[in-house]
Amino acid sequence: MFDAPGPRFRRRVFWVSVVSAVVLAGLVALGLRQFAANGQLDPVRWRPYLTWPVWRYLLNGLWSTVVAACATGVLAMAGGLLLALRPNRFTRAYAEVMRTVPVLLLVYVMLFVLPSFGVNLPLFWKLVVPLALSHAASYVVIFRAGVESVDPGQREAGLSLGMPDGVVTRFVVLPQAVRHMTPLLVTQAVSLLKDTSLGYVVSYTELLFNGRVLANYNGLLIQTFIVVAFVYLVVNLALSRLSHRLEARRARTAR
C-alpha cells in the first residue's frame, strides 16, 4: 500500500525512530526509578530467584499447570467433538451459554454449590471440570468452522468416485479440516493454559497459586509475580511460535 520509500520519507522514519526511542527510554527509566525508589531493585530481593529450590517449587507448579491443561484439553476436545458431530438445538444452546458465563462462576458452583448436594470432588477436578465444560463450547465452534472450511466440492468429488460416506469423511474431509484448524487449536491451547491460573481460586497447586504461596512465605510480592508472569510468557510464546510455524507450513502446502 505504501510507495517505495524515498529520501524524504526515509529521513522522516529516522526522526520518528529517534524520538520514539527517546520516549521509550524515558518511560523505562521512569519505571525503574519508581522501582528503585521503593527498594524493589535491591539485589537481595531478586537473589532468591537465582536459587534452585525456589525454581524447583515454581517448576513443580508449572508441571501441575501443564497436567491440568492437558486433562482439560482432552476432556474439552472430546466433549466438543461429541457436540459438534450432532448439531441440534441443545448443543447450540450449550455453546451459546458456555461462551457467555464466566468460568469463575462455574468454579464457584463447583466449590460452593455441589458440596451442599453431596458432590465433593478432589481439588484437581474442581478446577478441570469447569474449565473443560467451558472450553468444550469453544471447541464445538472450532470444529464446526474447521469442517465447514472444507470446500463441499471435496466431499462431492469423493462421493462421485464411489467412496462410502464414512470413508469420505475420514480420509477426505477430516484431514483438510484438521489442517485448517491447527492454528486455532493452538490459540485455544494458550487460552486454556492461561485459564488454569484459576487454580489460584481453587487452591490447586499450579503456577500462580504456588507463586502466591511463595510470596506469602518470602514477602517478595512483586518479584515473585513478575517471575511467575515471565514463566507463563515463555511457555505460551513457545506455543504461539508453534502455531505460527504450523500456519506457515499450511500456507505452503495448502493448494
Partner: protein
C-alpha cells in the same frame, strides 16, 4: 439485595469502562503495528505478545498487590480497570489489525492506481471496509471481557460473581443465586450481540 445491585452495577461499569479503555489503547497499538517504522512495530508486537500470553488473573494479582509496593496506589476498582483494559487492548489491537489486513490488497492498490494518496485510500477505501469486518470480532472481545471482569472479584472488587458467592453464604440457596448470576451474564452478552448486529447493519 443491595449487594446484588452493587455487584451488577460494578460488573456493568467495569465492562463498559474497560472496553472503552481497551478500544483506545488497542487502536494505538494497532497503529503502532502498522506504521512503517521498525522500532514502533516492535513495540506494538511486544505489547501484544506480552499481554496476550500472561493470564489476566496474574496481571490482576500483579497490579492489585504489586503496584502499591512500588508506590502507585489507586482505588481497587480502578486498578482492576487498568489491568483488564490493558489486557483486552492486546486482543482489540489484533482484531483491528487483521480487520485492516482482511481488506484485499488489490483494493489498496486500485485506490493508489487511481491516484489517491495513502491518506485518501485509507480513509475512503480501506477503513470503511475494515470497519464492517471488525464489528463481529470486537463484539466477541466485548463478551469475553464481560466474562473476564469476574476475575476482578478474585482480587476483591465486589462484582457480580463475587456478590453471588457472598449472597450464597447468607441465603444458602446456591442454585437460585448462581443461576441468577449466570442469567445476568447471558443478558449482557445478548445485549452486546444485539448491539453488534445493529452496528454491522448500519455500517454495511
Amino acid at each position: 439485595m443491595s449487594l446484588v445491585l452493587e455487584g451488577f452495577l460494578n460488573t456493568v461499569a467495569l465492562t463498559l469502562l474497560s472496553f472503552a479503555g481497551a478500544l483506545v489503547v488497542g487502536l494505538v497499538v494497532a497503529v503502532l503495528r502498522i506504521v512503517p517504522v521498525p522500532l514502533l512495530r516492535g513495540v506494538g508486537t511486544a505489547y501484544v505478545e506480552v499481554w496476550r500470553n500472561i493470564p489476566l488473573l496474574a496481571w490482576l494479582v500483579l497490579f492489585v498487590f504489586g503496584l502499591p509496593e512500588v508506590g502507585v496506589t489507586m482505588p481497587l476498582f480502578w486498578t482492576a480497570f487498568t489491568a483488564i483494559a490493558l489486557y483486552e487492548a492486546a486482543f482489540v489491537a489484533e482484531a483491528l489489525r487483521s480487520g485492516v489486513r482482511s481488506v484485499a490488497s488489490g483494493q489498496g492498490e486500485a485506490a493508489r492506481a487511481l491516484g489517491l494518496t495513502v491518506q485518501q485510500s485509507l480513509r475512503h477505501v480501506i477503513l470503511p471496509q475494515a470497519g464492517r469486518r471488525v464489528v463481529q470480532p470486537l463484539a466477541n472481545i466485548a463478551i469475553a471481557l464481560t466474562m473476564a471482569t469476574a476475575l476482578a472479584g478474585v482480587v476483591g472488587v465486589v462484582d457480580m460473581t463475587r456478590a453471588a458467592q457472598r449472597i450464597n453464604l447468607e441465603l444458602a440457596q446456591p442454585l437460585l443465586v448462581f443461576t441468577g448470576a449466570g442469567l445476568c451474564y447471558l443478558v449482557m452478552a445478548a445485549g452486546i450481540g444485539f448491539g453488534a448486529r445493529v452496528l454491522e447493519r448500519r455500517l454495511a
